[in-house]
């Protein structure tokens, strides 16, 4: 780190901010059902996840040398401005989906941001269309199906096997098992996602000529990326935890265990076999699957539908914001400054909007009271409803819809 220019410095800080949003966005993946079944208290759960994310960041030495996974031609004149713009797009989309309480893939936001920024600043030659389909679209469709079916089958099986046993007697065992599988998900998340940020920072350092191409990330990069993701995880994205833990379906300990085990298995199998699936989509899918697997369990399709819409929008929306940011940043130093100021402004606005109806560790297990959606109501009419009122938390989504257009044009 001989001479880090101001621009590179800005990119590094932005990358760390993205890592931080990635952390609190994805806490829910590992911990939502753990918290909602009461296996761990909310604060304990996020603390454990944070520590495991930090550990995970240091575990793997195989660094994501191509941060974009071959989606973007990194040789085609990617400059720090482009990376900066891509990161801004990813952060803005991450914050918007967090405000809506919707789990969406942070990696897809990062990909979308980088794609949008590259398209504007380098042109279509800098993006590999094939790789987008292969690495983003197909996994996005397959992940929830694979994880959902696995979790559904596992839920069915576990309920069948434990028939004749008191739920209170078995709950403790399920909760213990759930903690183990949640820990695995957290650890895997740390190795994967912290690596992405390290890759981004390393790429910025390489493009700025600070370190030689193809070199490993310096230790301070590893440490800061690990700390950023751990801090984000510890703060906890309570909104998304609420949606995943209480919003999609009502999770009992047996289901939570089946869902978490399914998620951990799918994540490890996919990354081991080499067909990377997004953690977020795997976890959401397995939670829905476990909801369908229990007799009388109901998936709130209105919430699930909004989640799927968010998944479809992630790539284009982050790309659009990043494209605009790249256009501005290309205008010169004042453009970069403008993007930074606008980005900070949008983040501040989203944070202010979130304060109007805060979700914290204290009310994370209380589902938002709201009339059930049309599909849910129709399903209830067809299938006999289980005990307990059904409520879909749609209020937070309505809130998020308002600031969305403003952000897209920034």
């Amino acid at each position: 780190m001989e001479h880090i220019t101001l621009l590179i410095g800005i990119v590094i800080v932005t990358a760390l901010v993205f890592d931080f949003t990635n952390g609190f966005h994805d806490t829910a993946n590992a911990m939502a059902t753990t918290i909602s079944t009461g296996a761990l208290r909310p604060k304990t759960a996020v603390a454990m996840s944070a520590v495991l994310n930090l550990v995970g960041a240091f575990l793997s030495v195989e660094v994501a040398k191509t941060i974009s996974g071959g989606i973007i031609d990194e040789k085609a004149g990617i400059r720090p401005e482009v990376i900066f713009a891509g990161l801004v797009g990813a952060i803005v989309w991450n914050l918007l989906t967090w405000l809506a309480g919707l789990p969406s893939s942070s990696s897809h936001a990062l990909f979308g941001g980088l794609i949008g920024a590259t398209l504007v600043s380098v042109g279509t030659g800098g993006v590999h269309g094939d790789a987008i389909v292969m690495k983003v679209l197909i996994p996005a469709v397959c992940a929830p199906i694979v994880a959902g079916l696995a979790a559904m089958a596992a839920t069915r099986l576990t309920y069948r096997l434990s028939r004749g046993r008191d739920e209170q007697d078995t709950a403790k065992g399920y909760r213990a098992g759930q903690i183990a599988s949640a820990a695995l998900v957290s650890l895997a998340h740390g190795t994967n996602d912290a690596q992405k940020t390290m890759g981004v920072i390393t790429l910025a350092l390489v493009t700025g000529g600070v370190i030689a191409p193809h070199s490993d990330p310096p230790l301070w990069v590893v440490v800061s990326a690990g700390l950023a993701i751990a801090l984000g995880t510890y703060l906890g994205g309570w909104r998304i935890i609420q949606t995943l833990g209480k919003g999609l379906t009502d999770i009992k300990p047996a289901q939570g265990f089946a869902a978490q085990t399914g998620a951990a298995t799918v994540i490890l199998a996919s990354s081991h076999i080499g067909f990377a699936l997004s953690t977020t989509q795997v976890c959401s899918g397995s939670i829905m699957g476990s909801g369908l697997g229990r007799k009388g369990g109901v998936v709130r399709w209105s919430t699930a539908g909004r989640m799927v819409i968010a998944w479809c929008l992630t790539l284009p929306a982050a790309g659009l914001v990043a494209g605009g940011a790249a256009f501005l940043a290309d205008q010169g130093d004042w453009g970069v400054a403008a993007v930074a100021v606008l980005g900070l402004g949008v983040c501040g606005a989203i944070w202010a909007a979130s304060r109007r109806k805060p979700v914290t560790q204290d009310n994370v297990n209380v589902p938002d009271a709201e009339p059930a959606g049309v599909v849910t109501a129709a399903l209830q009419a067809v299938a006999p409803p289980p005990a307990g009122p059904l409520a879909a938390p749609t209020a937070s989504a309505a809130q998020a819809a308002a600031p969305a257009p403003a952000a897209a044009t920034s």
Binding site: G56, C142, T261, I273
Partner: protein, 80 residues
């Protein structure tokens, strides 16, 4: 465009089998350590019978198997 269907199929198969097997084994462990509910003819439920030593041993073997699976999972994460 090349889509790696084979890898996708593998992920699908492995995930399904491993998840169901793990959850099944773990459930057997839970079943082996928890008392059986007994339904009397008149419909009331009395306190369950204590699991036998055999059941308990089998259950601990199940839990050990699951612990080994978790260990293998950690190995996969670290060795990547």
């Amino acid at each position: 465009m090349h889509i790696n269907w084979e890898a996708l199929g593998q992920v699908f198969g492995v995930s399904l089998v491993v998840t169901v097997a793990l959850v099944g084994v773990f459930t057997l462990g839970i079943v082996g350590t928890s008392p059986r509910k007994q339904q009397q003819p008149d419909g009331t439920v009395t306190a369950g019978t204590v699991p036998t030593a055999l059941g308990r041993t089998g259950a601990y073997a199940c839990f050990a198997l699951c612990a080994a699976a978790v260990g293998y999972g950690i190995y996969l994460i670290v060795a990547k």
